[in-house]
């Protein structure tokens, strides 16, 4: 099993519903977030293009945050989800420094927090909070090893890219272009 997410940058309108849904579902403290929207504007007037991306932890196959963690608090669970065990985390900040996507933050309670791909919802057979609320259905989630999963089907028919592949982390968020 290899969980992954595909984000259709052509369908995303940048409404931020995924951000709010995540904050509500996961009790993210005010002022923090586990997912966010990037607006990438390129070109010069009148030839301007905009790309909207809903970003979050890439749940990398080669996760630098897991490698550098001195206590083993950062770890990978089934399906390749990168998680943090709160009462093993000492809050040293090494994983935050190691993430090329700045996907982790220091929770006001001290430990490091991040996207969990809503594994508590997956366990109940539900999809992640961000996917379930997306009004344009531009987020696809599922098992990459299953050819009939939403994410596999989305990647099959479209061209896609990953962010900062040169960082060598083998990220698992695929942006449909």
């Amino acid at each position: 099993m290899r969980y992954a997410m595909a984000i259709d940058t052509a369908k995303c309108v940048g409404c931020g519903d995924c951000v709010v849904a995540c904050q509500t579902e996961n009790n993210v403290p005010v002022g923090y977030c586990r997912d966010w929207i990037v607006e990438n504007v390129s070109g010069s007037y009148p030839n301007v293009e905009i790309e909207l991306r809903s970003e979050r932890c890439n749940h990398c196959d080669n996760a630098p945050c897991v490698r550098c963690c001195p206590t083993g608090a950062s770890h990978i669970v089934e399906g390749g989800i990168v998680k943090v065990t709160h009462n093993e985390c000492i809050g040293c900040g090494a994983c935050i420094e190691s993430c090329p996507y700045d996907a982790r933050y220091s929770h006001p309670d001290g430990y490091v927090d991040k996207c969990t791909f809503c594994d508590h919802r997956l366990a109940k057979g539900q999809s992640t909070a961000c996917v379930s609320v997306c009004p344009t259905s531009c987020l696809y989630f599922g098992d990459l090893e299953d050819p009939n999963s939403e994410v596999s089907k989305a990647l099959k028919n479209r061209s896609w890219k990953v962010l900062a592949p040169e960082a060598g982390t083998k990220p698992q968020l695929y942006f449909l272009t």
Partner: protein
């Protein structure tokens, strides 16, 4: 083509707009670790060479400062932790891939060793010192008997500690300014040099100072050479690394890096040391203090500037 990025819904403290998770605590810890490594390495070296009589300050006096430096460094590290009550988790596991785990365990070994080493010389430093308890006296006799073995262990561990202070940063591939293998040797050499500077400052023997100063001149030469290679390597690498080097070559850290680190911390004190060798009278505290200051500034600047550099996408 012009490109602009907006990130909405994100103003996370210490992460946006620039990463600033590590503040003064980490550079101070790296500085004190390097300093301790420097003092211990030369203490061990001159004992193994059988020159503890002429190099009294290096072998017997300066190591008294090491336990204090290490404990203060560890205190700084502890202050940096955001989940402090769980710090003991460092010692319930050994993570081979994590430099911080290596550092934690190295410090666990080297701190007691530095205390034992200093304790072995306390009678010479404070005449009339009495250990009071028989077991402590027996332990002291043991330390004196196996001093050469301790010296070898101390040299090995201090090299690991010195290199570790650099590898701690260089292991982060996400921060292009740190992600260079030259940082390990560079921080080691810088740490050894600051250790020598403090030892020289403490020494009252002219011949001891002269020898230490000669070693220090070589080390500073190597350090300058490594810094040039660091910048050359960046400029010859990918875009993110070129941009990292630009921080020191016209960017926002240019003045602090060249004035505080290169000129005040390395070039000027090494010139003073060379002049001293040619017979000019120069108060030893001037080059020593400058080298220590330069070493601290170097780590402050590297830690702060490194966090700004990142992959672009």
């Amino acid at each position: 083509m012009k490109e602009e990025l907006f990130v909405s819904g994100r103003h996370i403290p210490n992460i946006d707009p620039y990463l600033s998770i590590w503040h003064w605590e980490i550079p101070v810890y790296l500085f004190l670790g390097g300093l301790a490594a420097g003092i211990m390495f030369f203490a061990g070296l001159f004992l193994v060479l059988g020159r503890e009589k002429e190099m009294e300050t290096t072998v017997k006096r300066a190591p008294f400062l090491v336990p204090f430096a290490l404990v203060l460094g560890l205190l700084a590290l502890f202050l940096d932790l955001k989940h402090q009550l769980y710090f003991w988790r460092l010692y319930t596991t050994i993570r081979i891939e994590s430099p911080m785990s290596w550092g934690a365990w190295t410090l666990m070994l080297i701190t007691p060793l530095s205390i034992v080493w200093a304790a072995g010389y306390i009678k010479e430093a404070i005449p009339g010192w009495d250990w009071r308890f028989g077991i402590l006296k027996q332990f002291e006799a043991l330390v004196i008997k196996y001093r050469k073995h301790l010296a070898w262990a101390m040299m090995g561990l201090s090299l690991i500690l010195g290199v570790y202070t650099g590898i701690l940063l260089s292991a982060f591939n996400a921060r292009p300014l740190w992600n260079t293998s030259i940082l390990g040797p560079l921080f080691l050499v810088s740490g050894l040099s600051t250790g020598l500077a403090l030892t020289m400052w403490m020494s009252k023997s002219h011949s001891e100072r002269k020898l230490l100063s000669k070693i220090d001149i070589v080390l500073i030469g190597v350090e300058l050479f490594l810094i040039i290679h660091l910048l050359m390597g960046f400029l010859a690498a990918g875009m993110v690394q070129v941009e990292a080097a630009q921080l020191f070559l016209g960017g926002e850290f240019t003045v602090s890096f060249w004035v505080f680190v290169i000129i005040m911390g390395l070039a000027f004190p090494v010139t003073l040391e060379i002049l001293e060798l040619f017979g000019y009278k120069i108060p030893i505290w001037i080059p020593s203090l400058l080298i220590l200051f330069g070493g601290l500034m170097f780590r402050m600047i590297m830690v702060e500037a490194g966090q700004i550099t990142r992959f672009l996408y």
